[in-house]
């Protein structure tokens, strides 16, 4: 049985297959509307989420399946002190596949050891978020038409930003990729991620603290929110939260075919004036999340044919 904990659990070939499937789902959604009939997805969200949980649920419903679950730890037995392993042991007997988010890093890895059905990591603390990365990859492929040779600027919280860590891991497998890491000193990319996915793979990169300096050189600008929930100290959060704000003025220096991505939710790091710029693709990115999750659910349930195939 396969689980998805880290984006690197999927090979480049498998990611290509998922992207091709998501493209096909977008082109002819009716052919997929019944392929998971009778299957149940459990969404176990021990930490609040809007997009990820709803897009998982929307994905399963769009495949003709059903969903059950909880959206915060307070409404689950975790509030009574139940362990992750016990929760998964029980819930996996009620469903066919699980999408799980937890504030503690490594919780899905513990969960999958006790689950009788496939577990998808829907985000574990500041660690990994592989389905956001799949969403990001589908976005990059659809918006730029390629993976190779891209210069990717990652801006904001690179320390706790799990989407950034997973995206770097995934993109480091493609040729000619270059990373530009833009963050305040306190929120720099953890050294082991830099070592493992960038330096050891001989990937070109640069680091800076000024967004203006690099606006003109990136093909993709991946903005992130400074996440209040990752800080133990409110003062640090308040000091760092407004480090970067992308506005229409800054966009003037960007390439004409550059794209702006953001895993959302946005607070104020992208001015709403940027939303109407055709290069701003974060809302399209959120939409793609539903289709790539449909493709992933199908794959993990072993459903490999659309209607009529």
């Amino acid at each position: 049985m396969r689980h998805l904990i880290n984006i690197l659990d999927l090979s480049v070939g498998e990611i290509d297959e998922l992207i091709a499937r998501a493209d096909d789902i977008m082109a002819r959604p009716d052919a997929y509307s019944e392929v998971c009939r009778g299957k149940i997805l459990a969404t176990l969200f021990f930490e609040p989420s809007t997009r990820t949980r709803l897009s998982f649920e929307s994905a399963m419903l769009s495949l003709g399946g059903s969903v059950l679950g909880f959206s915060e730890a307070a409404s689950s037995s975790a509030a009574k002190g139940e362990s992750v392993s016990d929760t998964l042991e029980v819930v996996s007997s009620y469903c066919d596949i699980i999408a799980m988010r937890h504030p503690k890093e490594g919780a899905p890895l513990v969960g999958c050891a006790h689950s009788s059905v496939p577990v998808i990591n829907a985000g574990d603390g500041g660690h990994y978020h592989p389905t956001q990365t799949l969403t990001d990859l589908l976005t990059i492929r659809r918006e730029t038409g390629r993976f190779d040779g891209l210069t990717i600027g990652l801006c904001g919280d690179l320390k706790f930003g799990r989407t950034v860590h997973s995206l770097i891991a995934a993109m480091s497998r493609y040729k000619g990729v270059r990373f530009v890491l833009i963050s305040p000193d306190e929120l720099k990319l953890p050294s082991f991620i830099k070592q493992e996915y960038i330096k050891e793979r001989g990937i070109e990169y640069s680091q800076c603290s000024s967004l203006d300096e690099v606006m003109g050189e990136v093909d993709i600008l991946y903005m992130t929110r400074v996440q209040r929930e990752r800080f133990f100290n409110e003062e640090d959060y308040l000091r760092l939260k407004d480090s970067y704000i992308l506005d229409a003025e800054k966009m003037k220096a960007a390439k004409r075919d550059m794209i702006v991505m953001h895993p959302l939710p946005r607070v104020n790091e992208i001015s709403t004036a940027v939303d109407s710029d055709p290069r701003a693709c974060y809302f399209r990115q959120a939409k793609y999340g539903r289709y790539i999750r449909m493709a992933l659910i199908m794959k993990m349930l072993g459903v490999d044919r659309a209607k009529g195939e």
Binding site: S83, V84, S85, E105, G106, L109, G125, F192, E196
Partner: protein, 138 residues
Amino acid sequence: MNVDSIKNGIVIDHIAAGSGMRLYDLLGLDALDCSVAIIKNVPSRKMDKKDIIKIDADIAINFDVIGFVDPGATVNIIRGGDLVEKRSISAPDRLVNVLKCKNPRCITSCEQDIDHVFKLTDKDNKIYRCIYCETKQN
């Protein structure tokens, strides 16, 4: 300095000078009732200085712990006053319930009855990481 030789037991030799106490702690030797000697900074031709631990009982020992603290150490098994086995040690690929992850965001900080597992991720620099959150051990 003289420490009596042992009849039945274990001698952990060629421990890098300064690592003996850590090995003593991680092996839980403080819980033993038998005689245990830690000899620090013993002159050595090969190593200049080394630490030695002598355990005066034939106990089961966790070789992974020794390999983690110092893969260059050797273990001599003594029975009836004779050396019956000399073992070389290597750094283990995994360490189970030897170290605790110190990351407060790690699932091991709250999940009960969970094994604390570290994996060797960088052989050259001997870096172990928690398998759950990937935090480096200190």
